[in-house]
């Protein structure tokens, strides 16, 4: 009998987006496709025979031009020919075979059948538009609000039968220390009786407490199924002005628990914003340290969805700002007011608000004027105190000594401007490496006006074309970890051989590139996403490119966060084997886009001299 080869099914089940298709369609595709051995000598003939197919590479390496876009270097797991099918344009498919191999040709009819699957369709439509597939970027959520109810409701509901007496119901509520009771018959929810009902409908009117509870219960109460979120619960409670909401099983509608106003506020208290505001309430360094350590634990237990990871960096940066301000206050309580105006500056990831668990502290002090020896000693002690205690709070000391405790980073405003002039005058590669971090800066405490003055004086200097050209060349020094044939290049000496340093090999490159465009446009905000949102088309990046870079940046950061939280590590060595099939494709697409952005920046800012 006709049959399907298991190896083709296995291939489809492991390759995104085919893994999204139901097994019946996978089976059909596996049964009605052709396998070709594509080599230099036969490629013209074979491609012509299958020109209306989607080509999926199983082995081999090919340089392919299949639409108006650039030549793509493809290898196993990559696709070509879809632009022709989607655009319905008779594009020529030109293939240069670098290494012959097996290609699966999926007939047009089956490709379009698969396009009925939204995830499959989105993958190929996005691939065609050369954009990263990122369905959830726009829905960044506040973590606690979107927790499903089954994660919150842990106890079976306190219940009585409809003919049980009012007194029995009250007794059960009292024993169980709850303020409401469900009235259940044969696992069906009939009603609810609350403390308020007992007060208003029984005590106030002198009703006989031996009457059945069904006489005073609220019939057919509002409820939610356990797959709904806390946010849904808040909406229903506000809409009906109630404090108790039964939670039912989504399928059987059997009551599984109760959510109350108190539960909601408990969740709210566990919300990271409350954890952060708790930091502000610390009275001593020890208290601050113990509260600070709750933040990583909170993130590890609560950040589960993509949107959570998007705000995690911001949360951590804001928490670090608060810790800094608290520590400065503690120091001043012991040593008195500062002898002059100062500003505590933060750099790098804290400035950009994309800190991760592994981020170390990068900070400096900007002083109103040159300090006297005594004034200098005050700031030295302040800096030491803050840096050492930030480390106790979990924000590591900086290996590169980019900290206010380093005397070279406690400059007066004039000295800082002079330093910026020196950078611009001789932007050697080493110098750029050294001061790149100072170009993403933010004021976290003290007199913000000092920092604004510094920014205003640095702005024209940092826009100079020679300086920008040097920055562009430096941004092009690091390559994305993809080989010529789009295979991942793994980090050397990592514990896991399939690791990629997403910070060094991708996020940092985007940060460098976006900083370049931002400086050129005179933008002073430090965040990469904020910079991209504030750039205009005149900067040289189209709206589509900027949007795509935001998506890529968020995607990469999600992967870093997920890696750190799920593997309980602080590095950025994301393991490719931890990624889903689609994420691997997305990551490759992200790297390719970063590479193109690097080339474009070199062309724009340094006349193509990389």
């Amino acid at each position: 009998m006709t049959a399907t080869a298991q190896q083709i099914i296995d291939f489809l089940q492991n390759e995104g987006p085919f893994d999204e298709l139901d097994s019946e369609l996978q089976q059909e595709i596996a049964q009605h496709s052709q396998l070709i051995y594509l080599a230099a000598e036969n490629q013209k003939e074979l491609i012509a025979q299958h020109k209306d197919a989607l080509f999926v590479i199983q082995s081999g390496q090919f340089a392919v031009k299949d639409c108006d876009g650039p030549i793509k270097h493809l290898s196993d797991g990559d696709y070509f020919g879809f632009a022709r099918l989607l655009d319905k344009v008779d594009y020529n498919i030109n293939v240069v075979v670098d290494s012959p191999g097996i290609v699966l040709c999926i007939a047009k009819a089956y490709f379009f059948k698969a396009m009925d699957n939204p995830a499959f369709a989105q993958f190929f439509t996005a691939s065609k538009n050369d954009a990263l597939q990122n369905k959830a970027v726009s829905d960044s959520n506040s973590m606690w609000l979107y927790k499903p109810l089954h994660e919150v409701v842990h106890h079976t509901p306190v219940s009585v039968a409809p003919n049980d007496s009012i007194q029995l119901a009250a007794k059960r509520m009292s024993e169980q220390k709850v303020s409401s009771v469900l009235v259940i018959d044969n696992n069906d929810l009939l009603g609810i009786a609350t403390d308020r009902d007992l007060r208003n409908r029984v005590v106030a009117v002198g009703l006989n407490t031996q009457l059945p509870i069904k006489q005073i219960m609220t019939e057919n109460p509002a409820y939610l199924t356990k797959n709904k979120t806390i946010f849904d619960a808040i909406c229903i409670m506000s809409q009906y002005g109630i404090n108790h909401l039964p939670v039912l099983d989504a399928v059987t509608k059997t009551p599984v628990g109760m959510i109350t106003n108190t539960d909601v506020s408990k969740q709210q208290r566990a919300n990271v914003l409350f954890v952060i505001s708790d930091l502000s309430k610390a009275e001593t360094v020890d208290e601050l340290v113990s509260k600070a350590w709750q933040i990583p634990q909170y993130l590890a237990s609560s950040a589960k969805r993509a949107g959570d990871f998007d705000i995690a960096g911001k949360v951590l940066s804001q928490a670090t700002d608060i810790m800094t301000r608290k520590l400065i206050t503690f120091f001043q309580q012991a040593h008195g007011q500062a002898p002059m105006n100062y500003c505590w500056l933060v750099y790098g990831s804290q400035a950009r608000e994309d800190q991760t668990m592994g981020s170390d502290q990068d900070n400096a002090l900007l002083l109103e004027r040159e300090p006297s020896q005594q004034e200098g000693e005050y700031f030295e002690k302040l800096a030491d105190f803050v840096c050492v205690n930030l480390a106790k709070c979990g924000i590591k000391l900086c290996d590169g000594n980019i900290m206010a405790s380093n005397p070279a980073l406690r400059l007066s405003l004039d000295a800082a401007v002079k330093e910026a002039k020196a950078w611009v005058k001789s932007p050697t590669n080493q110098a750029i490496l050294d001061f790149n971090i100072f170009l993403d800066a933010r004021s976290a405490a003290g007199d913000t006006r000092l920092f604004e003055k510094l920014q205003a004086q640095r702005k024209p200097l940092l826009k100079q074309s020679m300086f920008l050209a040097a920055l562009a060349r430096a941004a092009n020094e690091t390559s994305v970890p993809l080989s010529m044939f789009q295979k991942f290049v793994y980090a050397k000496n990592a514990d896991y051989k399939d690791s990629i340093d997403l910070k060094k090999s991708a996020v940092a490159i985007i940060n460098n590139l976006v900083r370049l465009y931002a400086l050129s446009a005179g933008l002073t905000m430090p965040g990469t996403v904020a910079r991209l949102k504030n750039l205009t088309p005149e900067c040289g990046l189209s709206e589509k490119d900027r949007k795509n870079l935001i998506d890529i940046w968020l995607f990469l950061n999600r992967l870093r966060w997920r890696h750190q939280l799920t593997n309980n590590v602080q590095d950025n060595l994301v393991r490719v084997s931890d990624l889903s099939s689609i994420e691997k494709h997305q990551l490759k697409a992200a790297f390719q886009a970063i590479h193109r952005a690097q080339q474009a920046a070199v062309l724009k800012f340094s006349g193509g001299i990389g």
Binding site: A3, Q6, D76
Partner: protein, 222 residues
């Protein structure tokens, strides 16, 4: 006379005349694999059989055939290795149906097998047992072809051997599920494409010219 002696001594027949002068891309191919209960071909029973057709570096997956064969007696460990259950085997088709089906392709296709001797001996026994008309079939043996390639390249057969898996690895072909007759047949055919491309990039050599590899043989059936 010489051909006769060769047939008697080696049990081999000449390459089918109509294929002799056809270049590789023109040859109609049938890749075949039998899963057996024993390596001893005198007693081995067929537990499953799979084949797929190809030509000109292409494999038509719609042509794939696979059947579990009804078998009785001591099956040893083989069905376990091939992932078959006793129920599969009890519900399988009769080997006669499959062999009769294969008979149609004796003259029309060159059969491709990995270690042809083993499967062809079993088929020969079945041919006789089923009293089918005596015939011969032209085969390409990917295992012998790999031996030729290894000896030519390294002067010896590497310790990794010439199993289907190790041979595929040499051409950068992915691992496939082994010990399933259809998957092995498909893997053999895609391996042959890679082998013959490496040997004969332009595809100009005909089957007779390829016979110096000792991988092209005809086997008597019946």
């Amino acid at each position: 006379m010489f051909e006769f002696i060769k047939k008697v001594v080696f049990g081999q027949f000449p390459i089918h005349e109509k294929f002799k002068h056809q270049c590789y891309p023109q040859l109609p191919l049938l890749a075949l694999d039998l899963e057996l209960t024993d390596l001893n071909t005198d007693i081995a029973k067929v537990t499953s059989i799979g084949w797929v057709f190809g030509q000109n570096y292409q494999v038509d997956l719609a042509s794939a055939e696979y059947d579990v064969v009804r078998a009785s007696g001591d099956l040893k460990q083989s069905p376990v290795i091939h992932g078959l259950t006793a129920k599969d085997i009890a519900q399988g088709c009769h080997v006669r149906e499959k062999v009769k089906l294969l008979e149609q392709y004796v003259d029309s296709h060159v059969w491709v097998l990995h270690n042809a001797t083993l499967d062809m001996r079993v088929l020969n026994r079945l041919w006789q047992a089923l009293s089918l008309e005596q015939t011969s079939v032209t085969t390409i043996d990917t295992m012998l072809l790999e031996v030729y390639v290894c000896e030519k390249t390294h002067g010896f057969v590497p310790s990794s051997g010439v199993t289907l898996k190790s041979a595929r690895k040499r051409y950068g072909l992915s691992d496939a599920p082994l010990h399933n007759a259809l998957d092995d047949a498909l893997s053999t055919l895609t391996l042959l494409n890679a082998q013959l491309y490496a040997l004969n990039k332009q595809g100009h050599m005909n089957l007779q010219e390829l016979s110096h590899t000792r991988a092209i043989k005809s086997y008597k059936l019946g």
